[in-house]
Symmetry: C2
Subunit: 147 residues, 2 copies
C-alpha cells in the first residue's frame, strides 16, 4: 500500500494507514462520520478533515467511489470487480448490494442510442427491508409531519 501510494506521489503517515486499514476492514459503505467514529476509537487525536481527505484520496486513487442516495449523506463504496446496484432501506438506512451485469448491458445500449458516452451507472431500489416492513413508523402517506 505504501508503495502503491508512493508511486502516485503520496506519502504514508500513521493516520493515513489507520484510516485506509479501517476503511478496507469495513465491508459496508461508510460515511465520513462513520469512519471518523471508528478511527477515533483507535486514535483519538485524528481530525475529521484528515478522515475526509483520506476518503477522498482513496477515491482518487481508484479504490473507492462516492455513493449518493439522496439523503444528504455521501457514502464511500469500495470499488469491487462486479458492478452492483443498491438496495437502500428508507427506514434503517441499511445499504445492500445486488449484481447488475445484465442491467448494465441494457443501459450501455440505451446510452449509445441516445448519443451518450456513459461513465457510470447507478441503479438503486429504495424501499423497506425485511426488518423494517412491519414498523408502523414506515407507513408512507401524503402527510407525514412537515407543514
Amino acid at each position: 500500500m505504501k508503495e502503491f501510494l508512493r508511486t502516485k506521489g503520496f506519502k504514508m503517515t500513521p493516520q493515513r494507514e489507520l484510516i485506509f486499514r479501517s476503511f478496507f476492514e469495513l465491508e459496508e459503505h461508510v460515511s465520513v462520520d462513520e469512519l471518523y467514529d471508528k478511527v477515533r476509537h483507535l486514535d483519538r487525536s485524528i481530525g475529521y478533515s484528515t478522515v475526509w481527505r483520506n476518503l477522498k484520496l482513496i477515491c482518487k486513487v481508484g479504490l473507492a467511489e462516492e455513493v449518493n442516495l439522496g439523503d444528504g449523506i455521501t457514502r464511500y463504496d469500495r470499488v469491487t470487480k462486479i458492478p452492483h446496484g443498491h438496495l437502500f432501506c428508507l427506514s434503517c438506512k441499511k445499504l445492500e448490494e445486488f449484481p447488475v451485469e445484465q442491467l448494465v448491458g441494457i443501459l450501455a445500449r440505451t446510452a449509445n442510442e441516445n448519443g451518450f458516452s456513459p461513465e457510470n451507472f447507478k441503479i438503486e431500489i429504495q424501499g423497506f427491508c425485511k426488518d423494517c416492513q412491519n414498523d408502523s413508523s414506515n407507513v408512507v402517506e401524503s402527510g407525514e409531519d412537515n407543514e
Copy 2:
C-alpha cells in the same frame, strides 16, 4: 388545481399559483434556484423560501419528486405516467429521460428476492452527451486540479 389543493387542505395564493404554473410549464427538471429565477421574473417580491416550500408541496401532493444526481443540487421532476431513468451529462448537467419499464420489472423482482418492499427505483446513466463528448475539458483522468 385550486380545487385539488383544497381537498388536501391547502389554500391557493397568487404566489402559489405562479409557482405551480411556472413549474409545470417547464418540461425540464428544475432546481429551487432555477424555478426561483423564473418566478422572480414574473413577481419580484416572491421569496426563495416560498418557492422552496411550494416545490416541496408539489412533491407532497404527488405531482413531482426529488431527483438527486450527487452534484449537491436537488432537482424536481414532474411525476409522469411512465417510469423513466435519467441520462445525466457530467459536463453540461443536462438531464434527459429514457423509458425503463423493462428494467423496473427486473428490479422489482430483485427487490422481492431480497425481502425488500420497493418504494421506488432510480436508474441513472452518468456520462457525456453528444455535445460535450468532444470538449477537451471533459477528459476523465486520475488527477484533475485538486491537490
